[in-house]
């Protein structure tokens, strides 16, 4: 309860803790930027996945409006096109740098860490400079920002000063001299621009990263971000090559297909420089560490099971046999790619049923107009009882682990969201 006491005692002071405003100044004209710098900024923005949070579904790029659900309420991504009235068209580079480095907006107010400046603070000056060149030269779109809908007391922006005092570590990334260039590049990207910890690291009740549990698994918009470190629940350990393939294409045939919040991530990483994605993959492989003998044994079991037909036993098995097996068991011809044998999937082995339930109910769709794997959603085809039976069967048969305890709760959440 200590953090709360601190917060309450500083409420009155916090408004004054904000920084000085930076004078509004029109962004420079496109012609004043070196095209190579803009191109570099574009590649960095792909890794940072800026477009995903700052673009509404079906909306113009970077014009804001997308709801981001958090335990604190709903944030709405802001308009970061260089529109002078409704976007950042009057943000100088100084203001932009401060936002990424310090988490403070042009007028001196604290930014909510839903904008992941905790990670962007690690960017080098040159990279922020390139990002500014890119962002400042987008097509201006006139679109008013939608106010966030946050629960009290989180709607009191002034409290952020205290939160940052407690939890925010400023400063650029410092390379580890012991490691090679590729690892450092990967570490820089994963921990900085990629902000992977935002979804893959557990957080405390006030939304701060649990720094001693980096990459031990987290939550984002209802989905579970699996552990990427030595606690990885993947049935088969990932190699750097497989990670690269997954991050680049959204698909690795023996591991996973990108679903939920990972979909826009991989779509953007497809446009990032190849060597950068390889560096991230190399870093992540090292992060998970070499697999133990026990883990390798489990991997062999999973791979063997993936080749076998599933066993039918009980109500859940019956649902699986009629609904899933035609595509997910071996036997479905390639099509534009068969479906993942479930023995290999991480959604089955993570501690929560959230990912499996979301995929089952919502399906997986390629981006509009682009080719990719397609899975129908079963939200209306299956009753709650059938979903629970199915989840239980899949967990035991393919996850080879003890039953999930959160199926009822997660299912209820998803049904509520769809209403």
């Amino acid at each position: 309860m200590r953090p709360f006491a601190v917060i309450l005692s500083t409420v009155a002071v916090c408004a004054a803790c904000a920084a000085d405003p930076v004078a509004p100044d029109a962004v420079p004209a496109r012609s004043s930027f070196d095209p190579a710098l803009i191109a570099k900024g574009a590649q960095l923005a792909a890794i940072g996945n800026c477009q995903a949070c700052h673009t509404a579904e079906g909306g113009r790029s970077f014009a804001g409006g997308r709801p981001i659900e958090t335990p604190f309420g709903t944030f709405y991504g802001t308009n970061i096109t260089p529109d002078p009235d409704t976007g950042i068209g009057r943000w100088s580079e100084q203001a932009f740098v401060r936002a990424l480095r310090e988490g403070v907006d042009r007028d001196g107010r604290h930014l909510y860490p839903a904008f992941p400046y905790e990670y962007y603070t690690r960017l080098t000056d040159e990279d922020i400079h390139a990002l500014y060149a890119y962002i400042a030269t987008r097509e201006p779109v006139r679109a008013q920002n939608r106010p966030h809908e946050l629960r009290a007391p989180f709607n009191l922006r002034g409290l952020l000063g205290t939160w940052k005092a407690l939890y925010f570590e400023r400063g650029a990334f410092r390379p580890d001299a012991v490691r090679d260039a590729q690892w450092n590049r990967g570490a820089y990207l994963v921990n900085g621009l990629g902000h992977c910890g935002a979804c893959h690291t557990p957080r405390g009740v006030l939304g701060a990263e649990k720094k001693d549990q980096a990459f031990s698994g987290g939550v984002a918009e209802g989905w579970h971000g699996p552990a990427l470190n030595t606690r990885s629940p993947a049935p088969v350990p990932w190699t750097a090559e497989q990670l690269f393939k997954y991050l680049r294409t959204g698909l690795d045939d023996t591991h996973a297909i990108a679903a939920g919040p990972m979909e826009p991530v991989v779509r953007n990483l497809a446009r990032a420089p190849e060597e950068d994605v390889r560096a991230m993959a190399a870093y992540l492989e090292a992060l998970a560490g070499p697999p133990s003998a026990e883990r390798r044994k489990k991997a062999d079991v999973a791979l063997a099971q993936a080749k076998a037909a599933s066993r039918a036993n009980g109500r859940g098995a019956e649902v699986y046999a009629g609904t899933c097996a035609a595509c997910h068991d071996r036997g479905r011809e390639a099509g534009s790619g068969g479906a993942l044998p479930l023995a290999l999937g991480t959604a089955m082995t993570i501690p929560t049923s959230s990912n499996l339930l979301r995929i089952t109910l919502e399906g997986i769709a390629p981006p509009e107009g682009e080719p990719g794997r397609s899975m129908p959603g079963f939200a209306d085809a299956l009753t709650d009882g059938q979903v629970k039976d199915l989840a239980g069967y899949i967990r035991s048969e393919f996850g080879r682990a003890a039953a999930w305890t959160d199926v009822d709760e997660e299912l209820k959440k998803i049904r509520e969201e769809r209403r």
Binding site: E318, V319, G322, A325, P376, A381
Partner: protein
């Protein structure tokens, strides 16, 4: 034997429980409204209603349908007395080859039962899971809007 409630009638079916509803409707019950388009849940030509919700019958096994209310195109109306949505589609001449249209009608029916007066954007979004290859989309949208007006 599996017992199904199809368009208000109980049907006894001697079929493998894993059989998708689509094949049972067409092959066993001669209800041809739902069409085979892909068998993969990607095109919507097979759309029927289960408990009032639109469902792709090609990936829905009959084992999951005991005790649930299945409605097909034939349950919405007859050639002599077409239902509201069917009438709207006929009035708008919303068909070229017509193969996708039964699925569209069922999808529209599900929408209108929950949202009696949807906006144009809501209709486009709701129908997005159903494919039309002939390019009849504009008429389909107009037909759904027309059906919504006739409440």
């Amino acid at each position: 034997m599996i017992s199904l409630d199809v368009n208000g009638k109980t049907q006894e079916l001697d079929a493998d429980p894993a059989t998708p509803l689509l094949y049972v409707l067409r092959d066993h019950l001669q209800l041809n409204g739902a069409k085979f388009g892909c068998g993969l849940g990607q095109c919507g030509a097979c759309t029927v209603l289960v408990d009032g919700r639109a469902v792709f019958s090609c990936v829905t096994p009959i084992s999951t349908l005991a005790g649930r209310r299945i409605t097909t195109l034939e349950g919405l109306g007859t050639p002599e007395k077409p239902g509201r949505v069917q009438r709207a589609f006929i009035a708008e001449q919303a068909a070229q080859c017509g193969y996708c249209i039964p699925g569209m009608i069922m999808q529209a029916q599900a929408l209108l039962e929950r949202t009696p007066h949807p906006t144009g954007a809501e209709i486009r979004k709701h129908m997005s899971g159903n494919l039309c290859r002939c390019g009849t989309h504009m008429r389909i949208l107009r037909a759904v809007e027309r059906a919504a007006r006739e409440t």
